[in-house]
Symmetry: C2
Subunit: 215 residues, 2 copies
């Protein structure tokens, strides 16, 4: 779907516009991107772009709409597996420290390197104060939903005696917040990826020791 797949040339123009606009918005912010910049990347002239979208704002809105759509699918998928605890419990049955590290690592790497996810997160970072709706979307995506989902996973591990706590939501916040903070460091300074990966592993290891067996 994205440039990464190498299927770039096969996307239709309407979708290509969205893809290039997202890239530019995530790097420079909406106001610093000109319609002609987007058009140039797509390989057309600016006026042609208006055959696909009514105006510049409509491109931005379409990106948000597409993401909301992906989010809903995501939420549904999570919700389905979430309401079937036996399935999830099976996955996290024999979860030891190494599995937890792998879970955290995979989570981090996905958020860090998935092109669409990364560009959308950066764009939203730059536009989050523009209006309440965008603020809500940001909090939903990068605060409420992750805490809810990971809280479910960690809750399962608690119910299986792998972790011990009287307050799962706080435990989840303490698991997730450092991971997200390291992610944002990489977003603005990719050269610090190695350094943050090491902190990430240290964090998860220590988290497991704290909540895992010191009682």
């Amino acid at each position: 779907m994205t440039k990464d797949g190498g299927t770039w040339e096969f996307m239709d123009t309407k979708h290509r516009i969205l893809d290039e606009a997202l890239t530019l918005f995530s790097e420079k912010g909406y106001a610093n991107v000109y319609v002609s910049d987007i058009a140039e990347r797509v390989g057309i002239k600016a006026p042609s772009l208006y055959k696909h979208y009514r105006n510049k704002r409509a491109i931005f809105d379409a990106i948000i709409d597409e993401m909301n759509h992906r989010f809903e699918q995501q939420a549904q998928a999570l919700s389905i597996s979430g309401t079937d605890p036996t399935a999830d419990a099976e996955v996290y049955k024999n979860m030891d420290e190494e599995h937890l590290i792998k879970l955290g690592n995979d989570l981090f790497r996905y958020y860090l390197h998935d092109s669409y996810t990364k560009r959308f997160r950066k764009m939203l970072t730059l536009e989050q104060f523009q209006d309440q709706e965008l603020a809500r979307v940001y909090s939903q995506q990068y605060f409420d939903m992750p805490l809810s989902y990971q809280g479910m996973l960690l809750g399962l591990m608690v119910s299986q005696g792998l972790l011990v706590t009287g307050n799962v939501p706080i435990m989840t916040l303490q698991f997730y917040a450092p991971i997200y903070m390291l992610l944002t460091v990489c977003d603005r300074e990719p050269s610090r990826e190695q350094e943050t990966m090491e902190l990430l592993e240290g964090h998860i290891r220590q988290f497991d020791q704290l909540y895992g067996r010191n009682f």
Copy 2:
């Protein structure tokens, strides 16, 4: 110094421009603020503004410069007390859970409500991807410096047996990251302040229990 103090009218025009520009930049981002917007807030016309600053960019740069200046002072102050452990040790001598909660609360409230700090943080959030220099300033201010300073404080508490860990930097990350995450939630959704304050207290309480005495 700021509008909050009610001494607004006594700031000279040059400083007033900086103050109003910072407010606007932090809300809408540099590119969405027009020179005439700044001038209007100051109570002059746009052309008059060019008697104080060469151009729009010079206003932004002056804000960064002023902040760098404050940061240096801050760093010096911290460094001085940091190299005199006896002074700091005295402060954190009888530190129990309630003191730790107060420390976290004060930290949070300061960052949350100090007008200058808040506006600068929000502005930098919106401009962090514009160039490497701004990315560096952001990471320095909201990642490296807080971890360094709080690591020193928590390290003191470890050396006094109030907290126990084999890895102070990771412990510090686990203390600070949730606090900063809650702060950013409030920055974009001030209506969630109450909710985040409760999570903050829960976090610090649980942090103290985890690192404090469960051995």
